[in-house]
């Protein structure tokens, strides 16, 4: 398997505070990799640093053989990386359709109709609301929209930041079912989550982040059984 993305000893600082400490990880093509960790562990910082927001202070982020750590966000986005970010960040006063079209910026509009149809099959709720302002939708629908928007750019690597955040358990289950479908198409996914149970079940491999450092790594199944992980993230049962 070829490595798609690799973090090499990445440090990130916010002023005097170090948010990431010598983080190294790899994501291979076709894999689902997850990063679990508590609130404030540095998971979102990690994902955003891929887009240079914030810039890393040392180390390298290699994507398809190229160090992208100093590139602009739009350069990164136009080379096959798409993110459904923390807090979803859909465009509130745009319609669902317009939000989806925003996902096509890196590849142009030629596949827009076909891809939008595909998204509506994957997320039937979005089709019902296609002309509705995105801000009027529920949290779960907004999360689906954020994921669908990221998929509209036909990414080589899909980055997901806590798709379960703030959602009812039944919706979380639905979203993870859909992610499983997406993964079965061969999409490479890097998923950052607090919901360790769902994330580790879906993932081929996982990393555990504590205070900006990678503490543990292993296959999804191994980490699920790891006593430390069970204690900290799975409520000890």
């Amino acid at each position: 398997m070829t490595t798609l993305m690799e973090f090499k000893e990445v440090d990130v600082h916010y002023g005097p505070i170090q948010a990431l400490k010598k983080v190294s990880l790899t994501v291979d093509e076709g894999e689902i990799v997850t990063m679990i960790g508590a609130n404030g562990a540095g998971k979102s910082t990690l994902l955003m640093s891929i887009f240079g927001q914030p810039r890393i202070s040392s180390g390298e982020i290699i994507y398809r053989g190229e160090d992208i750590s100093q590139k602009s966000a739009h350069y990164v986005a136009s080379h096959g990386l798409a993110q459904s970010p923390e807090g979803r960040r859909i465009f509130p006063s745009m319609s669902v359709e317009e939000n989806l079209l925003m996902g096509t910026i890196p590849i142009g509009m030629q596949h827009a109709d076909e891809d939008m149809k595909r998204m509506f099959e994957l997320f039937p709720r979005l089709e019902e609301r296609r002309n509705q302002r995105a801000s009027t939708m529920s949290g779960g629908e907004q999360q689906m929209l954020a994921i669908a928007r990221a998929l509209m750019s036909r990414p080589k690597l899909l980055l997901l930041d806590e798709p379960s955040l703030g959602l009812a358990p039944i919706i979380v289950k639905q979203i993870f079912e859909i992610l499983k479908d997406v993964a079965s198409t061969g999409m490479t996914i890097f998923l950052v989550e607090q919901n360790a149970n769902h994330a580790l079940k879906l993932a081929d491999r996982g990393y555990v982040m504590v205070n900006g450092e990678i503490r543990l790594t292993g296959t999804g199944a191994e980490l699920l059984l790891n006593p430390e992980v069970r204690e900290a993230y799975l409520g000890g049962h």
């Binding site: 966000a73 739009h74 986005a77 136009s78 960040r89 745009m94 925003m102 910026i105």
Partner: protein, 303 residues
């Protein structure tokens, strides 16, 4: 009665001009959260460019009015748009991550530079263009009449066409979606692959082009201009933008028309000497009673 109708017609034309210029204020505010105080002076530059383009066209023997106005519009809009692009590039982009105050000071500096540069290069005296289109429609109302010059009809037609085209671009095209996305969430826009610096540049170009449209129309109608006209026009258009709700595109157009109408009615019915006082009192009132304007959203501090 005829005075009221006459002032309504005058106010509508004046208001459409305010609206065109207010678009530049509101779009720039929407996308980078600053008041571009050099915008009025961009309008002033476009008045000079109009005169230059008319001189050039007549020099090359173009006589027919439609060709002159078309040529003047294209020439002035393109070059004023370039001014907008350069201004953003040299005065605002280097300060993209600085405090709002620095950008504001830079804007005031830019305004002074433009005024002095035009004063030095074109002379401090009032300049003028000849009347190219004369004549008017007259409607008799009771004892008096209402007169609408052909020029005013043209102003209305071109101004509203300009606004309609712009609304279409913002609502329906990819560039428009990119502008709205950048306005709503600049960071997310960049993550989706939008070059937000380019979008901001294009907003300055669009705003300046709209000011240029106003500049051509007013210059052809009014004839006279000097290097200082940008100040009062800029502040009026800014008032219109605030009245409509700064950041809102339909708000700018609506605010322009309301301001134009009320100012003309005040001038016609109360006192034309105090019409500027009236306009600015209106600005003060809005800021006190409804700071978010007619169509604006209540201000939420961007994080």
């Amino acid at each position: 009665m005829d005075i009221v109708l006459q002032q309504l017609v005058n106010g509508l034309t004046l208001g459409s001009v305010y609206g065109l210029i207010a678009i530049g204020y509101t779009m720039v505010y929407g996308i980078i959260g600053m008041i571009n105080f050099a915008h009025g002076d961009v309008y002033m530059v476009s008045a000079y460019l109009t005169a230059i383009s008319i001189a050039l066209l007549t020099f090359f023997g173009v006589q027919s009015f439609p060709f002159i106005i078309f040529g003047a519009l294209v020439f002035t809009i393109v070059i004023t748009g370039a001014y907008g692009w350069v201004i953003e590039r040299v005065a605002y982009r280097p300060l993209r991550n600085s405090s709002r105050l620095s950008v504001l000071i830079s804007a005031i500096g830019m305004s002074l530079i433009l005024q002095n540069y035009v004063q030095l290069s074109q002379g401090p005296n009032q300049q003028g263009v000849p009347t190219l289109l004369s004549g008017a429609f007259r409607f008799y109302v009771g004892d008096g009449f209402v007169q609408i010059t052909y020029m005013k009809v043209m102003i209305l037609l071109i101004a509203f066409t300009g606004m309609a085209v712009l609304t279409y671009i913002i609502q329906k095209t990819k560039l428009g979606r990119m502008c709205r996305a950048t306005q709503q969430d600049r960071k997310m826009a960049s993550i989706l692959g939008i070059d937000t610096d380019k979008v901001i540049s294009s907003v300055f170009v669009i705003g300046s082009a709209m000011a240029a449209l106003a500049g051509v129309l007013v210059t052809l109608d009014y004839g006279a201009f000097d290097f200082y006209i940008g100040f009062i026009m800029g502040i009026k258009a800014f008032t219109a933008a605030v009245l409509g709700g700064i950041g809102s595109l339909p708000g700018a157009m609506l605010g322009g028309i309301i301001l134009g109408l009320s100012e003309s009615l005040f001038a016609g019915l109360v006192s034309s000497d105090y019409k500027d006082v009236f306009s600015f009192s209106l600005l003060v009132l809005i800021l006190i009673i409804r700071p978010s304007g007619l169509l604006g959203k209540p201000a939420v501090e961007k994080v």
